[in-house]
Protein backbone atom coordinates (compact mmCIF):
# COMPACT_ATOMS: atom_id res chain seq x y z
CA UNK A 1 0.00 0.00 0.00
CA UNK A 2 1.44 3.37 -0.83
CA UNK A 3 1.89 5.39 2.31
CA UNK A 4 3.53 8.52 0.93
CA UNK A 5 2.44 10.18 -2.28
CA UNK A 6 4.36 12.97 -3.94
CA UNK A 7 2.02 14.38 -6.57
CA UNK A 8 3.33 16.66 -9.30
CA UNK A 9 5.43 18.72 -6.91
CA UNK A 10 7.19 21.79 -8.28
CA UNK A 11 9.20 24.38 -6.44
CA UNK A 12 10.46 27.68 -7.76
CA UNK A 13 12.72 29.96 -5.76
CA UNK A 14 12.61 33.60 -6.78
CA UNK A 15 15.35 36.05 -6.11
CA UNK A 16 14.49 39.71 -6.12
CA UNK A 17 17.03 41.82 -7.92
CA UNK A 18 17.42 45.53 -7.45
CA UNK A 19 18.27 46.04 -11.12
CA UNK A 20 17.21 43.93 -14.06
CA UNK A 21 14.88 40.97 -14.00
CA UNK A 22 14.14 38.85 -10.96
CA UNK A 23 15.76 35.46 -11.26
CA UNK A 24 14.03 32.14 -10.78
CA UNK A 25 15.45 28.75 -9.88
CA UNK A 26 13.21 25.82 -10.71
CA UNK A 27 14.45 23.50 -8.00
CA UNK A 28 11.76 20.85 -8.58
CA UNK A 29 9.81 20.24 -11.77
CA UNK A 30 6.63 18.19 -11.62
CA UNK A 31 8.02 15.42 -9.42
CA UNK A 32 5.72 12.46 -8.68
CA UNK A 33 6.32 9.14 -6.94
CA UNK A 34 4.96 7.12 -4.09
CA UNK A 35 6.49 5.11 -1.26
CA UNK A 36 5.12 1.81 -0.04
CA UNK A 37 4.50 1.35 3.65
CA UNK A 38 7.47 -0.21 5.47
CA UNK A 39 9.81 0.34 2.52
CA UNK A 40 12.73 2.60 1.68
CA UNK A 41 12.60 4.93 -1.28
CA UNK A 42 16.06 6.25 -2.14
CA UNK A 43 16.35 9.54 -3.94
CA UNK A 44 19.72 9.94 -5.62
CA UNK A 45 21.14 12.87 -7.51
CA UNK A 46 24.07 15.23 -7.60
CA UNK A 47 24.55 18.39 -5.60
CA UNK A 48 21.88 20.94 -6.38
CA UNK A 49 19.52 18.45 -8.02
CA UNK A 50 16.75 19.30 -5.54
CA UNK A 51 16.94 16.44 -3.02
CA UNK A 52 16.93 18.54 0.13
CA UNK A 53 14.33 20.90 -1.33
CA UNK A 54 11.99 17.95 -1.77
CA UNK A 55 12.82 16.64 1.71
CA UNK A 56 11.79 19.95 3.27
CA UNK A 57 8.49 19.92 1.40
CA UNK A 58 7.79 16.30 2.34
CA UNK A 59 8.23 16.99 6.06
CA UNK A 60 6.25 20.21 5.85
CA UNK A 61 9.04 22.63 6.67
CA UNK A 62 8.59 24.32 3.31
CA UNK A 63 5.70 24.44 0.82
CA UNK A 64 5.56 23.33 -2.80
CA UNK A 65 4.89 25.99 -5.46
CA UNK A 66 2.56 23.47 -7.11
CA UNK A 67 1.44 19.91 -6.50
CA UNK A 68 0.93 18.16 -3.17
CA UNK A 69 2.28 15.63 -0.71
CA UNK A 70 -0.02 13.14 1.00
CA UNK A 71 1.19 11.04 3.92
CA UNK A 72 -1.28 8.52 5.26
CA UNK A 73 -4.42 10.46 4.51
CA UNK A 74 -3.04 13.84 5.45
CA UNK A 75 -2.09 16.63 3.08
CA UNK A 76 1.29 18.01 4.14
CA UNK A 77 2.04 21.71 4.36
CA UNK A 78 3.95 24.10 6.58
CA UNK A 79 0.73 25.02 8.42
CA UNK A 80 -0.70 21.54 8.90
CA UNK A 81 -2.01 20.65 12.37
CA UNK A 82 0.53 19.63 14.97
CA UNK A 83 -0.74 16.07 15.32
CA UNK A 84 0.13 15.37 11.66
CA UNK A 85 3.74 16.25 12.39
CA UNK A 86 4.41 13.67 15.04
CA UNK A 87 4.15 10.95 12.39
CA UNK A 88 6.92 12.49 10.28
CA UNK A 89 10.50 12.93 11.43
CA UNK A 90 13.81 13.77 9.86
CA UNK A 91 17.46 12.73 10.35
CA UNK A 92 20.06 15.10 8.93
CA UNK A 93 23.57 14.73 7.54
CA UNK A 94 25.34 16.61 10.24
CA UNK A 95 24.67 15.38 13.74
CA UNK A 96 26.80 18.29 14.96
CA UNK A 97 24.60 21.00 13.55
CA UNK A 98 21.29 19.38 14.43
CA UNK A 99 21.99 18.71 18.12
CA UNK A 100 22.06 21.73 20.41
CA UNK A 101 25.40 21.40 22.25
CA UNK A 102 24.05 22.97 25.44
CA UNK A 103 21.31 20.40 25.93
CA UNK A 104 21.75 17.08 27.64
CA UNK A 105 21.12 14.02 25.48
CA UNK A 106 18.04 13.13 27.50
CA UNK A 107 16.48 16.55 26.85
CA UNK A 108 17.37 16.38 23.15
CA UNK A 109 15.74 12.99 22.78
CA UNK A 110 12.68 14.02 24.78
CA UNK A 111 12.17 17.28 22.91
CA UNK A 112 9.58 15.90 20.44
CA UNK A 113 7.78 14.18 23.34
CA UNK A 114 7.36 17.58 24.92
CA UNK A 115 6.52 19.39 21.71
CA UNK A 116 3.75 16.91 20.92
CA UNK A 117 2.64 16.59 24.56
CA UNK A 118 3.06 12.83 24.40
CA UNK A 119 4.16 12.24 27.95
CA UNK A 120 3.09 13.06 31.48
CA UNK A 121 5.44 13.21 34.37
CA UNK A 122 9.17 12.94 34.86
CA UNK A 123 9.34 9.22 35.48
CA UNK A 124 7.45 8.35 32.34
CA UNK A 125 9.70 10.65 30.37
CA UNK A 126 12.85 9.16 31.85
CA UNK A 127 11.66 5.63 31.06
CA UNK A 128 10.83 6.51 27.47
CA UNK A 129 14.22 8.20 26.92
CA UNK A 130 16.00 5.16 28.38
CA UNK A 131 14.02 2.88 26.10
CA UNK A 132 14.85 5.00 23.03
CA UNK A 133 18.55 5.20 23.84
CA UNK A 134 18.73 1.45 24.24
CA UNK A 135 16.82 0.98 21.01
CA UNK A 136 19.58 2.78 19.10
CA UNK A 137 22.40 0.98 20.90
CA UNK A 138 23.26 3.62 23.50
CA UNK A 139 22.86 3.34 27.25
CA UNK A 140 20.17 4.68 29.52
CA UNK A 141 22.65 6.70 31.56
CA UNK A 142 23.95 8.45 28.43
CA UNK A 143 20.91 10.71 28.93
CA UNK A 144 22.79 12.96 31.33
CA UNK A 145 25.74 13.55 28.98
CA UNK A 146 26.20 16.30 26.39
CA UNK A 147 26.55 15.74 22.59
CA UNK A 148 30.27 16.63 22.51
CA UNK A 149 30.96 13.61 24.70
CA UNK A 150 30.01 11.31 21.81
CA UNK A 151 31.64 10.28 18.55
CA UNK A 152 30.11 11.15 15.17
CA UNK A 153 28.39 7.79 14.83
CA UNK A 154 27.02 7.94 18.37
CA UNK A 155 25.71 11.44 17.74
CA UNK A 156 23.89 10.16 14.71
CA UNK A 157 22.34 7.49 16.97
CA UNK A 158 21.16 10.28 19.27
CA UNK A 159 19.54 12.02 16.28
CA UNK A 160 17.82 8.77 15.37
CA UNK A 161 16.60 8.25 18.94
CA UNK A 162 15.16 11.74 18.88
CA UNK A 163 13.47 11.13 15.53
CA UNK A 164 11.93 7.93 16.94
CA UNK A 165 10.64 9.50 20.12
CA UNK A 166 7.30 10.64 18.76
CA UNK A 167 6.73 7.14 17.32
CA UNK A 168 6.65 8.37 13.72
CA UNK A 169 5.62 6.11 10.86
CA UNK A 170 7.75 7.90 8.32
CA UNK A 171 11.33 9.22 8.53
CA UNK A 172 13.19 11.31 5.97
CA UNK A 173 16.94 10.68 6.13
CA UNK A 174 18.92 13.39 4.31
CA UNK A 175 22.46 12.03 3.78
CA UNK A 176 22.46 10.51 7.28
CA UNK A 177 25.87 8.87 6.94
CA UNK A 178 27.76 11.16 4.55
CA UNK A 179 29.81 12.62 7.37
CA UNK A 180 30.73 9.25 8.83
CA UNK A 181 33.58 6.83 8.22
CA UNK A 182 32.67 3.51 6.56
CA UNK A 183 32.94 1.37 9.65
CA UNK A 184 30.71 3.80 11.55
CA UNK A 185 28.41 4.16 8.56
CA UNK A 186 27.87 0.39 8.58
CA UNK A 187 26.65 0.59 12.20
CA UNK A 188 24.19 3.39 11.45
CA UNK A 189 22.85 1.82 8.23
CA UNK A 190 22.32 -1.53 9.95
CA UNK A 191 20.53 0.25 12.79
CA UNK A 192 18.18 2.04 10.38
CA UNK A 193 17.36 -1.26 8.67
CA UNK A 194 16.74 -3.03 11.94
CA UNK A 195 14.43 -0.25 13.16
CA UNK A 196 12.53 -0.42 9.90
CA UNK A 197 11.94 -4.13 10.42
CA UNK A 198 11.02 -3.81 14.08
CA UNK A 199 8.75 -0.78 13.77
CA UNK A 200 7.51 -1.05 10.17
CA UNK A 201 8.96 2.37 9.36
CA UNK A 202 8.77 3.96 5.93
CA UNK A 203 11.89 5.87 4.81
CA UNK A 204 12.69 8.48 2.22
CA UNK A 205 16.45 8.08 2.03
CA UNK A 206 18.41 10.83 0.33
CA UNK A 207 21.98 10.27 -0.74
CA UNK A 208 24.48 10.69 -3.52
CA UNK A 209 26.23 7.41 -2.69
CA UNK A 210 25.03 4.62 -4.96
CA UNK A 211 26.67 1.84 -2.98
CA UNK A 212 24.77 2.96 0.12
CA UNK A 213 21.58 3.02 -1.95
CA UNK A 214 22.21 -0.55 -3.00
CA UNK A 215 22.15 -1.74 0.60
CA UNK A 216 19.23 0.43 1.73
CA UNK A 217 16.62 0.86 -1.00
CA UNK A 218 13.61 -1.04 -2.22
CA UNK A 219 12.79 1.58 -4.84
CA UNK A 220 15.05 4.26 -6.35
CA UNK A 221 14.34 7.59 -7.99
CA UNK A 222 17.00 9.57 -9.84
CA UNK A 223 16.74 13.33 -9.64
CA UNK A 224 18.52 15.58 -12.10
CA UNK A 225 18.17 19.34 -12.10
CA UNK A 226 14.81 19.08 -10.36
CA UNK A 227 13.40 16.39 -12.62
CA UNK A 228 12.81 12.75 -11.76
CA UNK A 229 14.48 11.21 -14.79
CA UNK A 230 14.17 7.56 -13.80
CA UNK A 231 12.47 5.38 -11.22
CA UNK A 232 12.80 1.62 -10.75
CA UNK A 233 12.94 -1.09 -8.11
CA UNK A 234 16.50 -1.21 -6.73
CA UNK A 235 17.58 -4.47 -8.34
CA UNK A 236 16.27 -3.44 -11.74
CA UNK A 237 17.84 0.00 -11.67
CA UNK A 238 21.29 -1.35 -11.00
CA UNK A 239 20.92 -4.22 -13.46
CA UNK A 240 19.37 -2.19 -16.21
CA UNK A 241 19.52 1.60 -15.89
CA UNK A 242 17.36 3.18 -18.59
CA UNK A 243 18.28 6.86 -18.61
CA UNK A 244 21.71 7.88 -19.88
CA UNK A 245 22.14 10.11 -16.83
CA UNK A 246 21.64 7.11 -14.52
CA UNK A 247 24.08 5.12 -16.61
CA UNK A 248 26.67 7.86 -16.24
CA UNK A 249 26.10 8.08 -12.49
CA UNK A 250 26.61 4.33 -12.13
CA UNK A 251 29.68 4.52 -14.33
CA UNK A 252 31.27 7.28 -12.25
CA UNK A 253 30.40 5.82 -8.84
CA UNK A 254 33.57 4.62 -7.13
CA UNK A 255 32.09 1.37 -5.93
CA UNK A 256 34.36 -1.27 -4.50
CA UNK A 257 34.42 -4.42 -6.62
CA UNK A 258 35.20 -7.29 -4.29
CA UNK A 259 35.44 -10.57 -6.15
Amino acid sequence: MSFVQIQAVSKTFSKRRLFGKDSHVEALKNVSFSIQEGQTYALVGESGSGKSTLAKIVVGVDDASAGQVIIGNNAISSHMPLHYRRNIQMVFQSPYASLNPRWRVGDLVAEPLKAFKLINGKQQRRDRVAELLEQVGLQADDAIKYPHQFSGGQRQRISIARALSSSPKFIVCDEPTSALDVSVQAQVLNLLKQLQNDLNLTYLFITHDLAVVKTMAHQIGVLRQGELVEEQPAQALFANPQHSYTQNLLQAAPVLKVK
Binding site: V182, S183, Q187, L210, A211, V212, A253, P254, L256, V258
Partner: protein
Protein backbone atom coordinates in the same frame (compact mmCIF):
# COMPACT_ATOMS: atom_id res chain seq x y z
CA UNK B 1 66.69 3.35 -3.61
CA UNK B 2 63.11 4.60 -3.77
CA UNK B 3 62.11 8.15 -4.64
CA UNK B 4 60.70 8.72 -1.15
CA UNK B 5 61.42 6.73 1.97
CA UNK B 6 59.47 7.26 5.16
CA UNK B 7 61.40 5.43 7.83
CA UNK B 8 59.99 4.63 11.29
CA UNK B 9 58.44 8.08 11.49
CA UNK B 10 57.08 9.14 14.87
CA UNK B 11 55.21 12.42 15.36
CA UNK B 12 54.28 13.52 18.85
CA UNK B 13 52.22 16.31 20.32
CA UNK B 14 52.56 17.41 23.90
CA UNK B 15 49.05 18.25 25.04
CA UNK B 16 47.47 19.04 28.39
CA UNK B 17 46.30 15.45 28.55
CA UNK B 18 49.82 14.14 28.04
CA UNK B 19 51.89 12.95 25.15
CA UNK B 20 49.90 12.16 22.03
CA UNK B 21 51.47 9.82 19.50
CA UNK B 22 49.99 11.07 16.25
CA UNK B 23 52.24 8.84 14.16
CA UNK B 24 53.85 5.70 15.48
CA UNK B 25 56.72 4.12 13.49
CA UNK B 26 55.24 4.77 10.07
CA UNK B 27 57.38 3.29 7.29
CA UNK B 28 56.77 3.06 3.57
CA UNK B 29 58.39 3.78 0.21
CA UNK B 30 57.10 5.62 -2.80
CA UNK B 31 58.45 4.84 -6.28
CA UNK B 32 58.76 7.25 -9.15
CA UNK B 33 55.48 7.71 -11.01
CA UNK B 34 53.34 5.50 -8.79
CA UNK B 35 49.88 6.26 -7.41
CA UNK B 36 49.86 5.33 -3.73
CA UNK B 37 46.65 5.55 -1.69
CA UNK B 38 46.53 6.18 2.06
CA UNK B 39 43.26 5.10 3.60
CA UNK B 40 41.86 5.01 7.13
CA UNK B 41 39.19 6.46 9.36
CA UNK B 42 39.16 10.07 10.37
CA UNK B 43 41.88 10.73 12.93
CA UNK B 44 43.95 7.70 11.85
CA UNK B 45 46.88 9.93 10.83
CA UNK B 46 46.57 10.17 7.05
CA UNK B 47 46.85 13.95 6.85
CA UNK B 48 49.51 13.93 9.54
CA UNK B 49 51.63 11.65 7.32
CA UNK B 50 51.19 13.99 4.36
CA UNK B 51 51.91 17.04 6.48
CA UNK B 52 55.07 15.48 7.90
CA UNK B 53 56.39 14.85 4.40
CA UNK B 54 55.54 18.41 3.42
CA UNK B 55 57.27 19.79 6.53
CA UNK B 56 54.01 21.18 7.86
CA UNK B 57 54.08 19.85 11.41
CA UNK B 58 53.90 22.82 13.76
CA UNK B 59 54.47 23.14 17.49
CA UNK B 60 53.32 21.62 19.81
CA UNK B 61 53.83 18.79 17.34
CA UNK B 62 57.24 17.49 16.31
CA UNK B 63 58.93 14.68 14.47
CA UNK B 64 60.14 12.81 17.53
CA UNK B 65 62.13 10.17 15.66
CA UNK B 66 62.50 8.51 12.31
CA UNK B 67 63.42 9.95 8.95
CA UNK B 68 62.01 11.05 5.61
CA UNK B 69 64.35 10.74 2.63
CA UNK B 70 63.99 12.06 -0.89
CA UNK B 71 66.41 10.36 -3.30
CA UNK B 72 68.17 8.97 -0.25
CA UNK B 73 68.76 12.38 1.36
CA UNK B 74 67.02 13.29 4.60
CA UNK B 75 64.58 16.19 4.20
CA UNK B 76 63.43 16.36 7.79
CA UNK B 77 65.48 19.47 8.46
CA UNK B 78 65.38 21.07 5.03
CA UNK B 79 63.58 24.38 4.62
CA UNK B 80 60.11 24.29 3.12
CA UNK B 81 61.17 25.93 -0.14
CA UNK B 82 63.38 23.00 -1.09
CA UNK B 83 60.51 20.62 -0.66
CA UNK B 84 58.15 23.08 -2.34
CA UNK B 85 59.77 22.63 -5.71
CA UNK B 86 59.87 18.83 -5.56
CA UNK B 87 56.71 18.05 -3.61
CA UNK B 88 53.36 19.76 -4.30
CA UNK B 89 50.10 19.46 -2.47
CA UNK B 90 46.41 19.48 -3.26
CA UNK B 91 43.87 19.97 -0.49
CA UNK B 92 40.18 19.16 -0.18
CA UNK B 93 39.05 22.74 -0.53
CA UNK B 94 40.38 24.21 -3.78
CA UNK B 95 39.64 27.74 -2.59
CA UNK B 96 42.21 27.40 0.16
CA UNK B 97 44.98 26.85 -2.40
CA UNK B 98 43.86 29.54 -4.83
CA UNK B 99 44.29 33.26 -4.33
CA UNK B 100 40.85 34.81 -4.91
CA UNK B 101 42.30 38.16 -5.99
CA UNK B 102 44.70 36.93 -8.69
CA UNK B 103 43.83 35.50 -12.10
CA UNK B 104 44.60 31.84 -12.51
CA UNK B 105 47.04 32.73 -15.29
CA UNK B 106 49.09 34.91 -12.95
CA UNK B 107 49.02 32.23 -10.26
CA UNK B 108 50.27 29.60 -12.70
CA UNK B 109 52.98 31.85 -14.14
CA UNK B 110 54.15 32.87 -10.69
CA UNK B 111 54.53 29.22 -9.63
CA UNK B 112 56.28 28.29 -12.86
CA UNK B 113 58.78 31.16 -12.50
CA UNK B 114 59.38 30.38 -8.85
CA UNK B 115 60.10 26.69 -9.28
CA UNK B 116 61.35 26.15 -12.85
CA UNK B 117 63.78 28.00 -15.10
CA UNK B 118 61.08 29.22 -17.48
CA UNK B 119 60.57 33.00 -17.47
CA UNK B 120 58.30 35.49 -19.19
CA UNK B 121 56.87 34.24 -22.47
CA UNK B 122 58.13 30.70 -21.85
CA UNK B 123 56.35 30.63 -18.50
CA UNK B 124 53.16 31.91 -20.08
CA UNK B 125 53.41 29.31 -22.82
CA UNK B 126 53.75 26.62 -20.18
CA UNK B 127 50.73 28.01 -18.29
CA UNK B 128 48.67 27.73 -21.48
CA UNK B 129 49.89 24.19 -22.00
CA UNK B 130 48.87 23.26 -18.47
CA UNK B 131 45.40 24.73 -18.94
CA UNK B 132 44.98 22.71 -22.11
CA UNK B 133 45.97 19.59 -20.22
CA UNK B 134 43.16 20.19 -17.74
CA UNK B 135 40.68 20.90 -20.55
CA UNK B 136 40.27 24.57 -19.86
CA UNK B 137 40.46 27.10 -22.70
CA UNK B 138 43.58 29.24 -22.88
CA UNK B 139 41.48 32.40 -22.83
CA UNK B 140 40.45 31.58 -19.25
CA UNK B 141 43.97 32.59 -18.10
CA UNK B 142 42.46 35.96 -17.29
CA UNK B 143 39.67 34.48 -15.14
CA UNK B 144 39.49 34.57 -11.35
CA UNK B 145 38.92 31.45 -9.21
CA UNK B 146 35.33 32.37 -8.28
CA UNK B 147 34.40 32.28 -11.97
CA UNK B 148 34.90 28.49 -12.08
CA UNK B 149 32.76 25.59 -10.83
CA UNK B 150 34.03 23.38 -7.98
CA UNK B 151 35.30 20.69 -10.32
CA UNK B 152 37.05 23.19 -12.60
CA UNK B 153 38.68 24.84 -9.61
CA UNK B 154 40.04 21.53 -8.44
CA UNK B 155 41.41 20.98 -11.95
CA UNK B 156 43.10 24.38 -11.77
CA UNK B 157 44.60 23.33 -8.44
CA UNK B 158 45.97 20.22 -10.16
CA UNK B 159 47.52 22.39 -12.89
CA UNK B 160 49.02 24.59 -10.19
CA UNK B 161 50.41 21.54 -8.39
CA UNK B 162 51.95 20.33 -11.68
CA UNK B 163 53.34 23.77 -12.52
CA UNK B 164 56.46 23.34 -10.38
CA UNK B 165 57.18 20.03 -12.18
CA UNK B 166 57.30 18.15 -8.89
CA UNK B 167 58.39 14.55 -8.36
CA UNK B 168 55.60 13.98 -5.87
CA UNK B 169 52.08 15.34 -5.40
CA UNK B 170 50.36 14.80 -2.08
CA UNK B 171 46.59 15.04 -2.59
CA UNK B 172 44.65 15.15 0.71
CA UNK B 173 40.98 14.24 0.11
CA UNK B 174 41.05 16.20 -3.17
CA UNK B 175 37.57 15.17 -4.28
CA UNK B 176 35.67 14.72 -1.03
CA UNK B 177 33.67 17.90 -1.68
CA UNK B 178 32.78 16.99 -5.28
CA UNK B 179 29.97 15.04 -6.93
CA UNK B 180 30.85 11.55 -8.11
CA UNK B 181 30.88 12.36 -11.82
CA UNK B 182 33.11 15.38 -11.21
CA UNK B 183 35.25 13.32 -8.84
CA UNK B 184 35.76 10.73 -11.55
CA UNK B 185 36.86 13.41 -14.03
CA UNK B 186 39.26 15.00 -11.55
CA UNK B 187 40.88 11.72 -10.51
CA UNK B 188 41.13 10.45 -14.09
CA UNK B 189 42.83 13.71 -14.99
CA UNK B 190 45.22 13.61 -12.05
CA UNK B 191 46.14 10.03 -12.91
CA UNK B 192 46.73 10.55 -16.60
CA UNK B 193 48.71 13.78 -16.11
CA UNK B 194 50.94 12.23 -13.49
CA UNK B 195 51.50 9.16 -15.62
CA UNK B 196 52.50 11.33 -18.56
CA UNK B 197 54.94 13.37 -16.46
CA UNK B 198 56.23 10.52 -14.28
CA UNK B 199 54.97 12.24 -11.13
CA UNK B 200 54.28 10.08 -8.07
CA UNK B 201 51.08 10.72 -6.11
CA UNK B 202 50.08 10.02 -2.54
CA UNK B 203 46.29 10.10 -2.55
CA UNK B 204 44.85 10.48 0.94
CA UNK B 205 41.22 9.42 1.28
CA UNK B 206 38.79 7.70 3.60
CA UNK B 207 36.90 6.29 0.60
CA UNK B 208 37.69 2.66 -0.27
CA UNK B 209 35.88 3.07 -3.58
CA UNK B 210 38.31 5.81 -4.61
CA UNK B 211 41.22 3.61 -3.56
CA UNK B 212 39.89 0.66 -5.53
CA UNK B 213 39.36 2.62 -8.71
CA UNK B 214 42.35 4.94 -8.87
CA UNK B 215 45.43 3.69 -7.02
CA UNK B 216 48.24 1.19 -7.72
CA UNK B 217 49.16 0.51 -4.10
CA UNK B 218 47.51 1.29 -0.76
CA UNK B 219 48.63 1.88 2.80
CA UNK B 220 46.05 1.36 5.54
CA UNK B 221 46.31 3.45 8.70
CA UNK B 222 44.81 2.82 12.12
CA UNK B 223 45.28 4.91 15.27
CA UNK B 224 48.51 6.52 14.05
CA UNK B 225 50.12 3.38 12.63
CA UNK B 226 50.49 2.06 9.11
CA UNK B 227 49.08 -1.43 9.63
CA UNK B 228 49.18 -2.86 6.12
CA UNK B 229 50.44 -1.89 2.69
CA UNK B 230 50.26 -3.69 -0.63
CA UNK B 231 48.99 -3.54 -4.18
CA UNK B 232 45.44 -2.28 -4.45
CA UNK B 233 44.34 -5.61 -5.88
CA UNK B 234 45.86 -7.51 -2.96
CA UNK B 235 44.51 -5.18 -0.26
CA UNK B 236 40.97 -5.28 -1.62
CA UNK B 237 40.75 -8.90 -2.72
CA UNK B 238 42.94 -10.54 -0.07
CA UNK B 239 43.50 -8.23 2.90
CA UNK B 240 45.63 -9.80 5.63
CA UNK B 241 45.27 -7.48 8.62
CA UNK B 242 42.02 -8.07 10.53
CA UNK B 243 41.31 -4.32 10.52
CA UNK B 244 41.70 -4.09 6.74
CA UNK B 245 39.46 -7.13 6.43
CA UNK B 246 36.81 -5.41 8.57
CA UNK B 247 37.15 -2.13 6.70
CA UNK B 248 36.54 -3.81 3.36
CA UNK B 249 33.71 -5.95 4.66
CA UNK B 250 31.91 -2.91 6.11
CA UNK B 251 32.11 -0.97 2.82
CA UNK B 252 28.85 -1.13 0.86
CA UNK B 253 29.41 -2.84 -2.48
CA UNK B 254 27.27 -3.74 -5.44
CA UNK B 255 26.93 -7.25 -4.04
CA UNK B 256 24.82 -5.95 -1.14
CA UNK B 257 21.07 -5.48 -1.12
CA UNK B 258 18.39 -4.38 1.27
CA UNK B 259 17.93 -7.86 2.77
CA UNK B 260 21.55 -8.13 3.95
CA UNK B 261 23.33 -6.32 6.75
CA UNK B 262 26.77 -4.80 6.38
CA UNK B 263 29.61 -6.24 8.43
CA UNK B 264 30.24 -4.18 11.57
CA UNK B 265 33.63 -3.89 13.22
CA UNK B 266 32.84 -3.96 16.94
CA UNK B 267 33.61 -0.78 18.90
CA UNK B 268 35.32 2.41 17.72
CA UNK B 269 38.83 3.64 16.99
CA UNK B 270 40.40 4.82 20.26
CA UNK B 271 41.51 8.44 20.70
CA UNK B 272 45.25 8.84 20.25
CA UNK B 273 45.60 9.77 23.90
CA UNK B 274 44.36 6.31 24.87
CA UNK B 275 45.90 3.86 22.41
CA UNK B 276 45.73 0.38 23.93
CA UNK B 277 48.94 -1.43 24.88
CA UNK B 278 50.12 -4.12 22.50
CA UNK B 279 48.37 -4.13 19.14
CA UNK B 280 46.27 -0.95 19.01
CA UNK B 281 43.46 -2.91 17.35
CA UNK B 282 43.27 -5.75 19.88
CA UNK B 283 40.13 -4.69 21.81
CA UNK B 284 38.19 -4.80 18.53
CA UNK B 285 39.95 -7.68 16.82
CA UNK B 286 37.99 -10.91 16.37
CA UNK B 287 41.28 -12.81 16.03
CA UNK B 288 43.16 -11.37 19.00
CA UNK B 289 45.35 -13.71 21.01
CA UNK B 290 47.04 -13.22 24.33
CA UNK B 291 50.29 -11.88 22.88
CA UNK B 292 48.33 -9.15 21.04
CA UNK B 293 47.79 -7.39 24.38
CA UNK B 294 51.46 -7.61 25.28
CA UNK B 295 53.53 -6.66 22.29
CA UNK B 296 53.00 -4.20 19.47
CA UNK B 297 53.40 -5.87 16.09
CA UNK B 298 55.65 -3.89 13.72
CA UNK B 299 55.22 -3.74 9.98
CA UNK B 300 57.06 -6.79 8.66
CA UNK B 301 56.48 -8.08 5.16
CA UNK B 302 53.86 -5.35 4.63
CA UNK B 303 51.55 -6.23 7.52
CA UNK B 304 51.63 -5.33 11.23
CA UNK B 305 49.89 -8.28 12.86
CA UNK B 306 51.09 -11.18 15.01
CA UNK B 307 49.02 -13.65 13.00
CA UNK B 308 51.39 -13.25 10.10
CA UNK B 309 54.56 -13.93 12.06
CA UNK B 310 56.50 -17.22 11.99
CA UNK B 311 53.88 -18.72 9.72
Amino acid sequence: MSLLEVDKLCVEFSTRRGLLKALNQVSFELEKGEFLGMVGESGAGKSMTGNAILGLIDAPGEIASGDIRLDGKSIVDSPETIRGSRISMIFQDPLSSLNPLTTIGDQLIETIELHTNRRGAAAKQRAIELLQKIDIDADRLEAYPHQFSGGMRQRVVIALAMASEPDIIIADEPTTALDVSVQAQVLDLLRSLCQAEGTAVILITHDMGVIGNWTDRVGVMYAGSLIEIGTTEQIIQAPRHPYTQGLIASTPTMAADVSTNLYQIPGNMPPLTAIPEGCAFHPRCPKAEQQCQLSTPSLVDQVACHLWRDA
